[in-house]
Symmetry: C2
Subunit: 407 residues, 2 copies
């Protein structure tokens, strides 16, 4: 008689965004005349840019001729893309990451979910709190998180080390007393929008090397960094090659949420105590459970790094960051305590009058008809906070701020 | 100190196809004048067809306009594609599979590798032997296979139930004495090219239901079936909805090896002893570790089901099956014992003079300059057999047969 993976049964009820969707649906049903503005989900709204569209069309044409047809891609990615990544994301910033250390994938969500698989199930996991829920959920599925202790919004997993990123810590994680084996850091952070400085991150790299821990560094939002002292890659820190895996996405910089392309960096220097390279394990996972990102998508990724492509995607980032600036300004003027929005497309606000995150969600939906995301959905330290995203259109962002100011 | 997933260290040395690549490279270096013909790897060679190219171009155009841009896809797939699949692959064949039971993915390799994750690690696995290596390899990575016992080519994993598919069993698996929990069946089979009849498969469905086992049925080659008594889906068998998951690919029917699209079927009737639906577990895995197949690809998948698309992809299948017929005929005339090639693009031959699979590989490469795949690479019962694929061009297939006949 077959048995299921019982760890799955530990996963907490319905997913954050489906709860939001249900609440919004109920509200619009009751209030058909109200125009709801969504500043909740982290999906982009601006279309792909001309250079990327051209690359996609060209690649499709190639797939239509026997001489230029492309079947199975190399498991780890085409050289043309891995070389472009190595050059533009690393070499030009003075970082040495070889094309061979880059693994092209169908996106950072897959990578951030799958990466835990190459580690022992008894590794102790630490996560920034609040953070992107995939890190904890995928470790629940693998049985690393222990038992749920506490109530729905501020409860915790008994075996997870939480690294609070709150007003008290200036929204950066502090070194924990208990030593973790795997440390998930997302910087600039989703959902807080705050980013670690190079000095702050260097402390974590040193800590990881001292304790033989691995940092899984999610750099999905690096294109939004505007301040000089914030690193674009963990490999800007000395010693990171021997303790860090870095995850990248084309979703937020180039608008690829529906295109699906990302990559992971696993340096050869990252080895376990027996000298086994994590690179070889990840290569084996890629080769066995994945058949490469599509040729068409990889050509689109290459186009992102062309000089025209770079101009265009910087335009996209600027567009969203103008929204972020409007949200920051609007909320400040309306008397809210806010952070983020400078190095990331997320603005993080403290709920007024000690409202819970979900109470503020209901409040904002009812009185401003604006949808945001309750901070408690991202971890226990998110309770009492709320996320607004800059991925809307200018028009909607302006309208939302007007409504909030009148609330 | 972090620890790795030690199961990965149990994976056997270099992968079949990389060993082949190295041997071919060495041969061509020594014999630069010889033109090597590759009938080894299961990759397609014919370009995408016009209707599919049009759908891809249209979808790319949509991604370039804000009004028609598509961001994150629904985790489980767009309705337009799931409905097309439900209608054409199932309803039209008299099978009831609802769109909601279909999970769109980036391909059957990912699905066949990931599906084991929703089961307990102490499930006992049975596999057809020989078979596509991903089933066993992904269970090695999860620790279900025990120890390797025996030599390189005919050794076995101590905890795996092997289901020999050889001349002696007429290339169909027979019910085992030991009861498995998970049963991997690929039919039409890769690499033997043989397909189970409906009666044969019904026995397995009954066996699975009696023993509360789950059949993971890989239908990647169903488009190549030409005989009436061979089922296109396991759900043609009575009772399969309560014991079977079915995996489908667009790679081999529509030439999507480099496009990447597939789907899994998990019926709601498939439940564990506590009544937990596997559907809910697979949905959770999709939602947590995957961000949907790309919009562009899903539109291409939809186009496969249009009437023009169907005509075109049937043309592709016919093209390859003409190759299969030529290979079958050529090998028979040359005195080989052959099977497969009627319901699948693979022809399976018994090596002459009791040669090992690898000896015959070297022999064929040296004397006919033709590359095939050693049967032992697919499992212990593959030793003494050899696979040729029909995915080459007509010209190369004809030339290869001429050379073999003169060998």
């Amino acid at each position: 008689m077959f048995k299921i993976n019982k760890n799955y049964l530990n996963l907490r009820g319905s997913y954050l965004f489906s709860t939001i969707a249900k609440k919004v649906e109920a509200f619009t049903k009751e209030n058909p005349d109200k125009k709801v503005i969504r500043l909740g989900i982290g999906d982009v709204t601006q279309p792909l840019t001309p250079t990327i569209l051209k690359a996609l069309h060209n690649a499709v044409d190639e797939m239509g001729k026997a001489e230029t047809f492309h079947g199975y891609a190399p498991d780890l990615g085409y050289s043309f893309l891995r070389e472009a990544i190595s050059k533009h994301d690393f070499e030009e910033k003075g970082i040495q990451i070889a094309p061979d250390e880059i693994f092209v994938s169908d996106g950072a969500k897959s990578d951030s979910g799958n990466i835990q698989e190459i580690f022992s199930t008894d590794c102790k996991v630490a996560v920034c709190d609040p953070v992107y829920p995939v890190y904890v959920d995928t470790n629940i599925m693998s049985g690393r998180t222990g038992k749920w202790v506490g109530d729905d919004s501020t409860g915790k997993w008994s075996d997870v080390i939480y690294l609070p990123c709150t007003e008290e810590t200036n929204f950066a994680p502090e070194l924990p007393k208990e030593i973790p084996d795997l440390i998930y850091i997302c910087s600039p952070n989703n959902p807080t929008g705050s980013a670690m400085t190079k000095d702050q991150l260097q402390k974590w790299v040193d800590f990881a090397n001292e304790n033989k821990a691995v940092i899984i560094y999610d750099a999905a939002y690096e294109a939004y960094i505007s301040e000089d002292n914030v690193p674009h890659s963990i490999y800007e820190c000395a010693g990171a090659r021997s303790c860090a895996i870095e995850l990248h996405s084309f979703s937020k910089n180039a608008g690829f949420t529906g295109v699906r392309l990302g990559f992971a960096v696993v340096p050869h220097d990252l080895k376990d105590s027996d000298g086994v390279e994590l690179h070889s394990l990840w290569a084996r996972r890629h080769g066995t459970k994945f058949n490469g990102a599509p040729y068409i998508q990889q050509r689109a990724g290459e186009a992102v790094y062309s000089s025209e492509g770079q101009k265009e995607v910087k335009g996209l980032v600027s567009y969203y960051m103008e929204n972020a600036a409007m949200i920051l300004k609007g909320l400040k003027e309306a008397g809210y305590k806010v952070s983020g929005g400078v190095n990331a497309p997320y603005v993080w606000l403290k709920t007024p009058d000690n409202m819970t995150s979900w109470d503020f969600f209901d409040h904002l939906l009812k009185h401003a008809n604006v949808v945001g995301t309750p901070g408690s959905g991202f971890g226990p330290s998110g309770e009492g906070y709320f996320r607004l995203t800059a991925f809307g259109t200018h028009e909607n962002t302006i309208a939302a701020m007007e409504r909030i100011s009148k609330m």
